[in-house]
């Protein structure tokens, strides 16, 4: 019966892998009887799925793409949900000596100077785009270095972290994935706190006028719950090892 009443949410692996959904969705389902089926894929793929009308709700973290999505009429409206941040992780011995720095761009510059291995997602995801912006800010041309110390893995956050840990290389990761990641093998957070590492998540209902199959009512109910005090509280109480992963911000930011 629950199978009758469900929505499909296109989201990113970083959100799903953190375990956030496992924490909040049962609360929502219990309350409304609506089952939420999360399909976690790359940001681009998630947006593409939503454009095709294969999802009812889009839940990703790349603001420019999200705004384009709404502007082109694929989505109804974007709502802020929560933020977390990116961190630069790297091997314990930190060959580029960036530990404790708070300027992410400077840190990357030092990595480039040290020609220490840096593992990039290289998959056009929100995280990847953020990383490229930081390199630009640092004035480093990573295209030149691709294949040498700069390694583009072309894969998801988890796979990239697996690669980084095996290579003992640096990487930019979202804190959620990092905290829930198990294969850290001698890696730790080296740089955090830069305001440029801010990572906002948005949620959008797929436009039912465009795709009549979209379960607009159920989708709206889900979005409403997410940004309601109850949903926000649920997000805020999700912790790993006592650490808060996502800061709810639906009420903080005004439109």
């Amino acid at each position: 019966s629950a199978a009758e009443k469900f929505i499909i949410v296109a989201s990113t692996t970083s959100t799903k892998n953190s375990g956030l959904f496992d924490h909040i969705l049962p609360l929502f389902e219990k309350k409304t009887g609506i089952q939420v089926r999360v399909v976690a894929v790359g940001t681009g793929q998630a947006i593409r799925m939503a454009q095709n009308g294969d999802a009812d709700v889009l839940f990703v973290h790349h603001r420019p793409s999200e705004e384009t999505f709404v502007a082109e009429g694929f989505g109804v409206k974007r709502f802020d949900v929560m933020v977390n941040d990116f961190v630069v992780v790297g091997p314990d011995d930190d060959p580029a000596h960036i530990a404790g720095m708070t300027d992410a761009a400077k840190a990357l510059e030092k990595i480039a100077l040290a020609r220490a291995p840096f593992v990039s997602r290289g998959d056009d995801s929100g995280t990847h785009k953020k990383e490229l912006a930081l390199w630009r800010a640092a004035g480093v041309d990573v295209v030149q270095a691709s294949g040498s110390w700069y390694r583009e893995t072309g894969s998801g956050m988890g796979a990239t972290l697996n690669t980084a840990s095996a290579m003992q290389g640096y990487a930019l990761a979202d804190r959620g994935t990092w905290l829930s990641f198990r294969n850290r093998a001698g890696m730790r957070v080296l740089v955090e706190g830069d305001r440029r590492l801010f990572n906002p998540y948005g949620v959008i209902l797929v436009n039912p006028e465009r795709h009549p199959y979209v379960k607009a009512d159920l989708g709206r109910e889900f979005i409403a719950w997410l940004i309601s005090p109850e949903g926000q509280a649920a997000i805020g109480t999700f912790r790993i090892n006592g650490e808060v992963l996502f800061k709810p911000n639906a009420m903080a930011v005004t439109h």
Binding site: N17, V38, V39, N52, G158, A159, S165, F181, R182, Y213
Partner: protein, 235 residues
Amino acid sequence: MTDFGSALGAALSLVVRLDPDLAEIVLLSLQVSVGAVFLATLIGMPLGAAVALFRFPGRTAIVVMLNALMGLPPVVVGLIVYLILSRAGPLGVLGLLFTPAAMIIAQVVLVTPIIAALTRQVVEDLWTEYEEQLRSLGAGPGRALTALLWDGRFTLLTAVLAGFGRASAEVGAVMIVGGNIDHVTRVMTTAIALEVSKGDLALALGLGIILIVLSTGINGAAFVLKEAAQRRHAG
């Protein structure tokens, strides 16, 4: 090597406490793979046998195509099935995307060429022995087809098992068309991929061990049934 130890531990603990999530995932995996192989056998065997037996223009091209399609990339198949089943696609109205049915469809596309190509080879080899006798008895390629599939059944089992191997191991296609949705379309391979991306390599390996044990069990059962049948129909 601690990983391998903890993988075994993870596998054992999952099995010993009869983890209900695991049971659900295993069951769905079996449903999808067995269903897909069943349908692929139904399509691929007659198809492969027909290509072996009938002579028609373009036959060579079809033989080469069948062999080549054994190497259909799962991700591409997943993508194509996705585009067809997508709401924006031609069969979107069926609403099959992100359901086990979609996963079965994708795997049928993947496995059918394998079973067909291997069947073609087996039947073609048998045909060199049987052709004149069967034609003399009045069996054209059509009638010969069933006779040869029957006479080659013990050899053809290996073709089916090769198809089953592909289906049960495959992750790229079912991931795209199933979406690896918890409790809905999560199967063993997508669960393993998820654990890898979470960095929980021991759990991933543990699930892998369970999957391999499962498929060994199925292969063992197939072998025992075959041996029994073969003993009855000796020769």
